[in-house]
């Protein structure tokens, strides 16, 4: 190998090593601090104790907030998937006047009306309706934000179900409901599953809307409580925060691994905003 090639190889290896370190180092804290008997903000080889976990479980709001998260995300996910599938099915199969314009408008909406841009009117709306601290209302708001993208992606999946299947079922006497339940939904299952997981993950990680609308500590989902833990008395509660972060992060990672293993990582521009 020439000196030039050696140099290039070395630069390449060093660069990859630096990149690896750059991405790995911050993540390591999440693996070490939860198990450390004297957790700090730095990286240390932990003693592998479960004391922090016990303290976290005993924390008055920790587990409750995880439950809140589940409820909130369940509402948002189910509403998004159910309404989205129905709408995507109709848009895919029936030529309604203005259909194409509607689809582009949906795509536009999902990119333009972000949480940040809509923060004020949403807050005012919920405030005036007296729906601050309502899990269900917040779930619906989150669903509303996810629907345009969900419809767009689901329509794509449903478009790929051959029309001859539906026509065949129709000729055999199936009513439109039967066609949907017997034929279309089972075949579109991978797409629906992908949206279910995507919607859940989006809702799980959503900070701004719950932060804005769920002010009562007992109503807060994990995303917000995690931040509240820091502000308690000004100093961060380092026994609970690492453990809670890990608990909060695990479902997301697990779901992502599950979906990518089962259905492959489908990459859509805008799938995670």
């Amino acid at each position: 190998m020439t000196p030039r090639q050696v140099l290039r190889r070395t630069v390449y290896i060093v660069f990859i090593a630096v990149v690896l370190a750059f991405f790995a180092v911050p993540l390591l804290w999440l693996a070490s601090a939860p198990f450390d008997s004297d957790p700090g903000l730095g990286l240390r080889w932990p003693d592998w104790t479960l004391d922090n976990w016990r303290i976290t479980f005993e924390h008055p709001y920790a587990l409750g907030s995880l439950l809140n998260s589940i409820v909130l995300c369940a509402v948002a996910t189910i509403v998004t998937t159910a309404l989205g599938t129905l709408a995507a099915y109709a848009l895919s199969r029936v030529r309604i006047p203005g259909r194409d314009a509607l689809l582009y408008l949906l795509l536009l909406l999902s990119s333009v009306v972000t949480g940040t841009a809509a923060m004020v009117p949403i807050f005012v709306m919920m405030f005036q309706l007296g729906l601050i601290n309502s899990q269900y209302a917040t779930g619906l708001v989150i669903a509303g934000g996810m629907l345009p993208a969900a419809i767009f992606i689901l329509k794509d999946f449903i478009d790929s179900v051959p029309r001859s299947y539906e026509e065949s079922a129709r000729v055999f006497g199936a009513s439109p409901t039967q066609v949907l339940l017997h034929v279309v939904l089972p075949i579109a299952r991978p797409g629906i599953a992908t949206i279910l997981v995507w919607a859940f993950v989006q809702a799980w990680g959503n900070f701004l809307l719950p932060f804005l609308l769920l002010r009562d500590v007992e109503a807060q989902p994990a995303a917000v409580l995690l931040r509240t833990l820091r502000d308690e008395g000004g100093s961060a509660n380092l026994t609970v925060i690492p453990v809670f972060s890990l608990l909060y992060a695990i479902p997301v990672v697990a779901l992502y691994l599950f979906v990518s293993k089962r259905y492959g990582f489908r990459f859509h521009g805008g799938i995670k905003a």
Binding site: V19, L20, A117, E167, P176, F267
Partner: protein
């Protein structure tokens, strides 16, 4: 032709679409339009204007032009977007996509896995990870660099935010460029190689013409996301002393902390307009490409 193959009929089809459209209308369309109206009033969270807000026309917008904090927020957002998205995520994402093409499978999997992990973790968690790294006393960065005693988030907040957001968002650009690069005809790359072109020349002459469209659309998209990103709030809350108060944080502080709902609605509207312009350009470019 999307003829009605499922026998739904127009009535039923409209019935299927209506609930979704209702939700979208109430929580996306209506707020976007309503914010114009609120922005034209002096509505506040507390005080007389909270019960009986009055119409003040474009006063909020005119005040914004004079407001130093607003100008500050605009400037910081621009810096944030340019630094972490246009330059940071774009460059790092492309470089990784380019270099990993020829990497060994295990190396590629590990690097991509870590980069993706940084992207899928919830923002609150990721914020804590970096608070830990950047801490003055125990932070890993200080330990590595030997600069103990530097409170990065306090002394260099924007730099810290830019590095943070680059770390957080590179995955998207990396995956996008990965698939864009896979579509470059291998024969053209090999021709460049046999001619003796260097890596840089190959990128400039062979690769870039093919992915030019992707670069533009990707940049637009991640810039849009970054400009609207609320996550910096979790790291610095806009401090110290407004030094890292990007537009999303500014809006929040004005609306909730200061209770200036009318004013912050006007600012939100401006953000909506910017989003709209960027999104329209993005969609037009996408359509042109297909």
């Amino acid at each position: 032709m999307a003829r009605d193959t499922s026998g739904l009929g127009t009535a039923r089809a409209v019935g299927f679409i209506a609930p979704a459209l209702l939700l979208i209308g109430v929580f996306l369309v209506f707020p976007a339009l309503w914010t114009i109206y609120i922005g034209l009033t002096d509505y506040t969270l507390t005080g007389t204007a909270s019960i009986a807000p009055s119409f003040i026309g474009v006063d909020n917008f005119l005040n914004a032009l004079d407001d130093a904090l607003f100008g500050n927020a605009l400037w910081l957002t621009l810096v944030f977007v340019m630094g972490s998205a246009v330059i940071g995520q774009n460059l790092l994402g492309f470089t990784l996509a380019w270099l990993l093409r020829s990497a060994r499978p295990t190396v590629r999997r590990v690097v991509e896995g870590l980069v993706l992990l940084s992207w899928i973790l919830p923002s609150v968690v990721v914020a804590y990870l970096w608070i830990a790294v950047l801490d003055r006393d125990g932070g890993t960065l200080n330990a590595l660099l030997g600069t103990s005693g530097t409170a990065w988030l306090v002394e260099y907040p924007m730099a810290a935010l830019i590095i943070f957001n680059t770390w957080r968002g590179t995955a998207f650009s990396m995956m996008l460029y990965s698939s864009a690069l896979a579509a470059v005809p291998p024969s053209q790359l090999e021709t460049a190689r046999t001619v003796g072109a260097s890596g840089w020349q190959t990128v400039r002459d062979v690769v870039f013409p093919h992915i030019r469209g992707h670069v533009l659309t990707n940049t637009l998209l991640i810039s849009l996301w970054t400009a609207n990103d609320f996550t910096p709030f979790l790291l610095t809350a806009g401090g110290p002393n407004h030094e890292s108060e990007t537009l999303p944080i500014f809006i929040y502080q004005q609306a909730i902390a200061s209770g200036e709902l009318g004013y912050s609605a006007a600012i939100s509207f401006l953000l909506l307009v910017v989003n709209l312009v960027v999104a329209l350009v993005y969609l037009l470019l996408l359509r042109k490409r297909s």
